[in-house]
Symmetry: C2
Subunit: 249 residues, 2 copies
């Protein structure tokens, strides 16, 4: 199987397009491919092509786009993961895993118990880092789509985004069983798969009662069994469970 590269400018067979710097470096310096080598490229928005290296040199790479190629299918339900930013590098793992399992978009949020504020996130260029991780994960899992990673926002923005439909409905908020009596087991949600959905997952310390209260106007509150799932594994487990419920597997 040929190596896969992210080529956002790949639209049509016969074109010669440049790769982004990270991808060019991967092609030239890591894999040491040269003119004529066969690869596969995907444009991040659903198209994949066979391709050949057209020019590879220090500082850049160009590829000749060939025939359309088949990529891993996108999930039937386009889930936007609304994930509270986790401590340290754990959010990196969540982004990687969420792209791998097949979410459509990721909205990082900063909640009352997130142990990080929004401004260090911006200074730290964390979003750019998560975007690179999303590309890297798409390369590995065979998708031709690179999910959007939205800029981190405070929890309070969720309500407005829901009104604007930047966060598609139905919306679900995962809560600990003991956090509220208003939640239902995930399995008891309506089984008919929606076209899209949003899934809110809290930080290690969970949601505050106020956040649950605020979200309950727009979100179904759902639980995921009685065993404690680590914060950085919750997205993978919850999306797998939803996909199973909605006939993805």
């Amino acid at each position: 199987m040929h190596a896969r590269f992210f080529a956002p400018d790949a639209h049509a067979s016969g074109d010669v397009v440049s790769l982004p710097d990270d991808e060019a470096e991967h092609l030239t310096r890591v894999l040491r491919l040269t003119r004529g080598d066969a690869i596969v490229v995907f444009n991040g928005r659903g198209l994949a092509f066979e391709a050949t290296v057209h020019r590879a040199r220090k500082g850049g790479a160009e590829v000749l786009i060939g025939q359309p190629s088949t990529a891993a299918p996108e999930a039937r339900v386009a889930i936007t993961l609304v994930q509270a930013v986790l401590k340290g590098d754990k959010m990196d793992d969540v982004v990687r895993d969420a792209v791998m399992i097949g979410v459509a978009a990721i909205q990082p949020i900063v909640t009352a118990r997130s142990e990080i504020a929004a401004s260090p996130l911006a200074r730290g260029r964390r979003r750019e880092r998560w975007e690179r991780i999303a590309v890297s994960s798409a390369k590995q899992c065979g998708r031709a789509v690179v999910p959007i990673v939205f800029p981190p926002e405070p929890f309070e923005a969720v309500a407005a985004f829901a009104d604007d439909r930047q966060l598609p409905g139905p919306m679900m908020m995962l809560v600990e069983p003991r956090a509220t009596t208003a939640a239902v087991p995930l399995g008891e949600l309506d089984g008919q798969p929606p076209r899209e959905a949003s899934l809110l997952i809290g930080p290690e310390g969970g949601w505050t009662p106020r956040e649950i209260e605020a979200a309950s106007e727009q979100c179904r509150l759902v639980t995921l069994g009685g065993r404690t799932i680590r914060g950085d594994a919750m997205a993978l487990v919850a999306v797998a469970a939803l996909f199973a419920k909605w006939g993805e597997y």
Copy 2:
């Protein structure tokens, strides 16, 4: 919430029992608890109790068993995860995650494409390491059961174990969609939850055609969607999907 400790000798209220060395060290040196402090203990076979520290000193700890306590519920379907040993530390993560999500037992196997042989596994005391990880994960996820980690065995032992019912049926082997035409999507399995089941998951490089052929006599071959899931995330995704299908969530 009080700290939880693994106390395999905890059977009945009123008893004073010693903790295993690792647990005693956690109690005395990490958490620095002393006589009279309230804790929770679980015996690894399903019982949990409130307890108090009876004696804590360098080299050991004893606890007084109090009233029975509620632990996280066990899964309705007792899944034995038959996992090909992965490279490096990745198997550690799989053991941790499998215990967290709620498998009943773990049978490590060495397959044709596992990049490790059985004898270095034995010399490396890997099983003892995985057992410690299982205890640690049970402490964190709230279970009172510590899943058994069986000694690593070659793939060829699976057939005999299935006959002996050490590996309970129904048995399922996860395969890549392109590896065989004989597989069915996981969602198309009979939806009626069994009482127990075994799930075979291969190494990073996948099963060999010979292994799939051999297993197909005793296992349903199942697929899990079209996107490539990393080897070390497969158990979590597959068990979550099966649990969702079987009404666990």
